[in-house]
């Protein structure tokens, strides 16, 4: 069974496609209106849920407006309109905590059926000019406790991302795969320079071809994702630009290769270029985007795609997807390498 890793690659990609697409998202709060209110008033929030079953959860729904670490306000009445639509009425106390003029409140919904869902900065409360005293008891009469967890495997719900959080399995592994494949390519170039065995040079060029394919696919899938979350296909984000530049550097590798007639010269110079290209790739993808502002998670002060965004259920699909796409790339590189070896043998024979 020398083909086991090819079978494994297909199985892992299939697994990430099916499980990654079929596991449902956790419940979430898609939209809330109105967006602002003043103190001392009763406000009725129209809450639009995502993946929720308000109809089944009726009677056990609880909702809070959380204004800081300790203070929260429990809703006094609910009306369920459909599985995805309900209203919650809060009576906002007369005085905001800490003498603030405006406070943003986080909305928290909880029920046994749906589990808990959170919408940060759901409502802005502004202080009306009244002389009343601040009363802690008005805010924290019913503290947030006994939150439920939804049963079964599910992926986190994030507001702008929504279902596109699944793109983590189909966009990010392409870049991880590209990195691994380009590392292999650079290692083969190094081995060529040490041994002068031209097979290593063929391997390096075959792996670079797959690396470029994955890079271009990463750029395309990233652009589609960006269009519907950041608002444009290309936002001139640092990481987007640097990724495009690094793909271009590797395209130049093949321009350089094709400009030599002498096979030994071609192999030697392109091996040196490949090592330098890899040395340029590290700062372009991992250093510069972290130094400035970037829309990508994990760059420029943005939190990484970790913690609650990449929870354990997502890891169960994400890591197999990386291994699967990488092995698939190795397979494709292997095919090119073999065809190049045949071509070379034919050239030598005649």
């Amino acid at each position: 069974m020398k083909h086991w890793w090819k079978i494994l690659s297909v199985l892992l990609v299939l697994y990430s496609l099916t499980v990654g697409m079929l596991v449902p998202l956790k419940t979430g709060i898609a939209e809330v209106s109105p967006l602002n209110t003043t103190t001392g008033e009763d406000v009725t929030l129209i809450i639009q849920g995502y993946n929720t079953n308000f109809g089944d959860a009726k009677g056990q729904i609880r909702a809070w407006l959380k204004v800081d670490k300790e203070l929260s306000l429990l809703a006094k009445s609910f009306k369920v309109k459909s599985d995805n639509l309900m209203t919650a009425t809060f009576s906002i106390p007369d005085k905001l905590p800490g003498g603030a003029k405006v406070k943003d409140a986080t909305l928290i919904l909880d029920s046994e059926v749906d589990g808990s869902s959170v919408l940060p900065s759901a409502l802005f409360i502004s202080q009306k000019n009244t002389a009343s005293e601040f009363d802690v008891a008005e805010w924290s009469r019913s503290p947030i406790a006994n939150l439920h967890e939804k049963d079964g495997m599910s992926f986190p719900y994030r507001n702008v991302l929504s279902e596109t959080i699944r793109n983590l399995f189909y966009h990010v592994p392409l870049w991880f795969g590209m990195m691994i494949i380009l590392v292999v390519s650079a290692v083969y170039s190094g081995r060529y320079l040490r041994t002068k065995n031209e097979e290593f040079d063929f391997k390096a060029s075959a792996f670079t071809k797959v690396g470029i394919l994955y890079g271009i696919l990463g750029l395309v899938t990233g652009a589609i994702w960006a269009k519907h979350t950041w608002g444009a296909y290309w936002s001139w984000d640092v990481k987007q630009n640097m990724a495009a530049i690094s793909v271009l550097i590797y395209v130049a590798y093949f321009v350089l290769r094709s400009s030599f007639d002498d096979p030994e010269k071609q192999a030697r110079i392109s091996a040196v270029y490949n090592i330098f290209a890899f040395a340029a790739l590290i700062p372009l993808l991992f250093v510069i985007p972290r130094l400035t502002d970037s829309l990508h998670p994990g760059n420029g002060g943005n939190p990484g795609f970790g913690g609650e965004d990449l929870d354990n259920t997502m890891r169960m699909v994400f890591y197999p997807a990386i291994i699967g796409f990488t092995l698939l790339g190795v397979w494709m590189a292997n095919l090119i390498y073999r065809s190049e070896i045949i071509e070379n043998k034919l050239l030598n024979r005649w």
Partner: protein, 70 residues
């Protein structure tokens, strides 16, 4: 061989056109929690891999021609 390659290429292009039309339609892409963004990404990756297969295919037919000529 060349005919098969061009037919594959044409079919790929034909399948891309309606997808591109849908991507341009924001209401469609935003529906059901933007799930079609993920579908579009998967389709793009698949098309990329198919184009790469065509590239390998053409390499191999070139080699076959060389063997047959000599």
């Amino acid at each position: 061989m060349k005919r098969i390659t061009s037919i594959t290429f044409l079919l790929t292009l034909l399948s891309v056109t309606p997808i591109l039309a849908q991507i341009e339609n924001p209401d469609f892409m935003q529906s059901i929690g933007k799930i079609y963004v993920v579908v579009a990404s998967i389709v793009a990756t698949f098309i990329g891999i198919v184009l790469f297969l065509i590239f390998i295919e053409r390499r191999l037919s070139k080699l076959e021609n060389q063997i047959n000529d000599k």
